[in-house]
Amino acid sequence: MSIAATNTPQTPLRNPPRQLLKRAFVKVGVLPILLVFAILVFRSMSDNFLTVQNLTNVVRQSVFLAIVSLGQMMVLLTGGFDLSVGTILALTSVTTALAMSGFALAMPDMILLAIVLGALVGLACGTLVGLVSGIGVAAFGVSPFIMTLGVASMGFGIALFLTGGTPVYGMPPEFGEVMGFGAVLGLPLPIWVAIGLVGVAYVLVNWTRLGRSFYAVGGNARAALLSGINTKASLVAVYVLSALFTAVAGVLLTARLDSGEANVGSAMPLESIAACVIAGVSLRGGIGRVENVVLGALFINLVQNGMNLARIDSYLQTVVIGAILIAAVIFDQIRLRFAADLKD
């Protein structure tokens, strides 16, 4: 005996255009749409906004946040945090400048070598910070929050100690001219570096076993361990990578500012995490995509730039940026709800 119900109307194509729109929304995600929307709004508010020069400007400004956010994303993938990125930026800046000006003094004939060596010293110092965090988290089981916060505090003290609070000058001017302001094929060099790093991050995260292990560790650390993944190595790797990426941003920033500064990057930890979260990276780990994170960083900078160009009052800007962050995530929630509705 069967009461196999009468079929309820299943209407997948009741409203095809709207369905299509929804599907497009679900597919491309929230950020591209928000980016286009922001561009339209700001274009109407300022004539100078939609110029090649300004957009290049925005992209170049986004470079630092984007690079740092890539590293941050890897840490977030494993379910951690990196609150030390600000300090790494500062420490790299200071050590790069100190080393480079030292080398430049010591070997005035080999400026190029001095520049390369100085940058390497900076990268090494920055990366070392990540190694310490990584070991703390992986080997001693310290919560990433406290570990990176503690390391950040320590590193900042060291950076201040090295500089005594004053900026470090005396790097060869070629460094700033090339790495900070140079351009190749019309694009500023920092943008090229960022493109390269995005590529590296993309391949690393999506196409290597190491990258896969980040997702596994963040998705379910115990499962990863039981699947024979070396979770400790993955954790160390992720903090080292985050520090390395941030250190590269630090070197670029130093070139751009033409001085080594201990007072940079204090907003970076929260800003980079925010860029990741609006890009859909989960703070519980295991979820996130490189492309979106880059868009997230771009979006934050675009909005700031647009508001500056539209001459929005600084106080109001603070309010607007907060509201936009929240709105972006709410839109993403709506998207996820749509996604659950659409069945493939």
Partner: protein, 510 residues
């Protein structure tokens, strides 16, 4: 009954040998000088009550935990695995009781987790996809390799876990309750595969609480009790009752009680319900007070989803739900619970328990607004402790330490904690989705009696189960689901294996 130590073929060392292995957890000696041998090409069943130490034993073998003392030999050589990775490298592969799948990854990504194929340092994604297809096909598991594991049912996740084990090169295969939420179709595929690898000389350690699986598979059986080695016996030599006697040290008697059926008013009526995800496509059912209704069907048939939708956990797109005469379509779980609707989810980890909180808190979670515990906005924690203790006693929690965190208990005992929640307040409808996942025979009998008492006391009861004997022996009435629809409704004399099985596969009722 033969002791294995004498049963040793001379000249050839056993595949795996454990000597006097102990494992101490805080307050519990989970393994007490345990001995164990595994031969090539045998299925060796571990049998014991919940908390006897079976999972602990296999996690020692597989490198997931380190023993407090004791030795392990593999092929006669001393071996020690400090990580699962090392064990795997030796071909020791384990399907754990609490799955080791990563929810945020896809099925194929999980299949290759920790042993991804790569080519020049980069992942060979295409090759992995092909292999994933192949392995799923070989196992006959109907899974989309690209589906995200978080969106699979518990049974489907278990299938991923199993498929993964059969991917690797094997010398020892360990299966810890692999069929706990599978239906017979999948289980039978698994058994065939076990036979295959056994023929290749792989040693298999198999943990189960289902007697018919022991009949079907076991070559030898090792019985544990309280972490102690009791006996290793040849499967041909012992009967079920004898085994259960060894396990519990007492006689269990009949597992399934006779439950009186006195149908009264209609408690829950579901009419042509459809869900947004399409897992239920217009299914109807009805439950009356004083009767026990079973819901059966294959993995993914919608037998769980229909109740989840009725309980307000899934978005419905059509149909109505009536509970106690009121239309409650799309009502919140909270409202339904307070109206007397109890729902026990199938996956205790995902939806049932806060693992890091004490058992007592988990037990009383849904009764915090009721009298003995609630005093206005306050909570009487003394009464709460007493209540929890009482329920723990009813369900024979082992060890009797309800103040401990749930995660420190064995799988079966965690299940008891979950069940205890339905004792804490009066309900007029109880829904149990896979109530006996991982529960030992003795306790299972207790749980069935407990469900029976609820029913006889006038409550409506729904049991959703992939364990067919459970449906066959308990239900007064049964609905068989197929592809999101009710394929048939059966009543008492007709609820037989022969009647149900064809329905599982979409055939019309006779």
């Amino acid at each position: 009954m033969t002791m294995s130590a004498q049963d040793h073929r001379p000249g050839e060392p056993p595949l795996l040998e454990l000597l006097k292995v102990s494992k101490q957890y805080p307050g519990v000696l989970a393994l007490d000088a345990m001995n164990f041998t595994l031969r090539r090409g045998e299925v060796h069943v571990l049998f014991g009550e919940n908390g006897a130490g079976k999972s602990t034993l296999i996690s020692v073998i597989s490198g997931a935990t380190r023993p407090t003392s004791g030795d392990m030999l593999m092929n006669g050589e001393p071996a020690r695995f400090t990580t699962v990775h090392e064990a795997r490298a030796q071909g020791v592969t384990t399907v754990f009781q609490e799955f080791s799948v990563v929810p945020s990854l896809s099925v194929e990504e999980n299949l290759f987790l920790g042993s991804e194929l790569s080519c020049g340092g980069f992942l060979a994604k295409r090759r992995m996809r092909q292999e994933a297809h192949a392995i799923l096909q070989r196992l006959g598991f109907d899974l989309d390799p690209r589906a995200t594991v978080a969106r699979l049912t518990r049974a489907e996740q278990q299938m991923v876990e199993i498929a993964r084990a059969f991917r690797s090169k094997l010398s020892v295969l360990i299966l810890d309750e692999p069929t706990a939420s599978l239906t017979d179709r999948e289980a039978n595929r698994l058994f065939e595969l076990v036979d295959q690898v056994k023929a290749q000389g792989v040693g298999i350690i198999y943990i189960t609480h289902r007697m018919h699986e022991i009949d079907r598979l076991a070559d030898r059986i090792t019985v544990l009790r309280d972490g102690k080695f009791i006996a290793t016996v040849d499967a041909r030599d012992v009967g079920q009752d004898e085994l259960v006697g060894l396990m519990t040290g007492r006689v269990v008697g009949q597992v399934f009680p006779n439950i009186a059926c006195r149908p009264g008013r209609a408690v829950l009526s579901i009419d042509r319900l459809a869900t947004g995800s399409g897992s239920v496509k217009g299914a109807s059912l009805q439950v009356r007070a004083g009767e026990l209704v079973g819901l059966a069907g294959l993995v993914g048939s919608g037998k769980s989803e229909i109740i989840r939708a009725a309980f307000g956990l899934e978005r419905t797109t059509g149909g109505t739900v009536t509970f106690e005469g009121k239309d409650v379509t799309n009502a919140s779980p909270r409202r339904l619970l307070r109206a007397g609707f109890s729902y026990m989810p199938p996956d205790r980890r995902v939806e049932g328990l806060a693992m890091m909180r004490p058992c007592s808190e988990n037990m009383t979670l849904s009764a915090l607004d009721l009298k003995p515990l609630a005093e206005g906005p306050f909570l009487n924690r003394y009464r709460e402790a007493a209540e929890a203790r009482r329920h723990a006693a009813t369900l024979e929690l082992h060890p009797m330490r309800p103040e401990r965190a749930v995660e420190a208990f064995s799988g079966g005992n965690q299940q008891k904690v979950l069940l205890a929640r339905s004792l804490t307040r009066p309900f007029s409808l109880y829904v149990f989705d896979e109530p006996t996942v991982g529960v030992d025979v003795g306790t299972r009998a207790a749980i069935y009696r407990f469900i029976g008492r609820l029913c006889e006391a006038g409550a409506a009861v729904i049991v959703i189960s992939s364990d067919l004997p459970e449906i066959l022996n308990l239900s007064h009435r049964a609905y068989v689901f197929y592809d999101g629809r009710v394929q048939a409704e059966l009543t008492r004399p007709n609820i037989t294996e022969a009647a149900i099985l064809p329905l599982f596969f979409g055939q019309k009722a006779a």
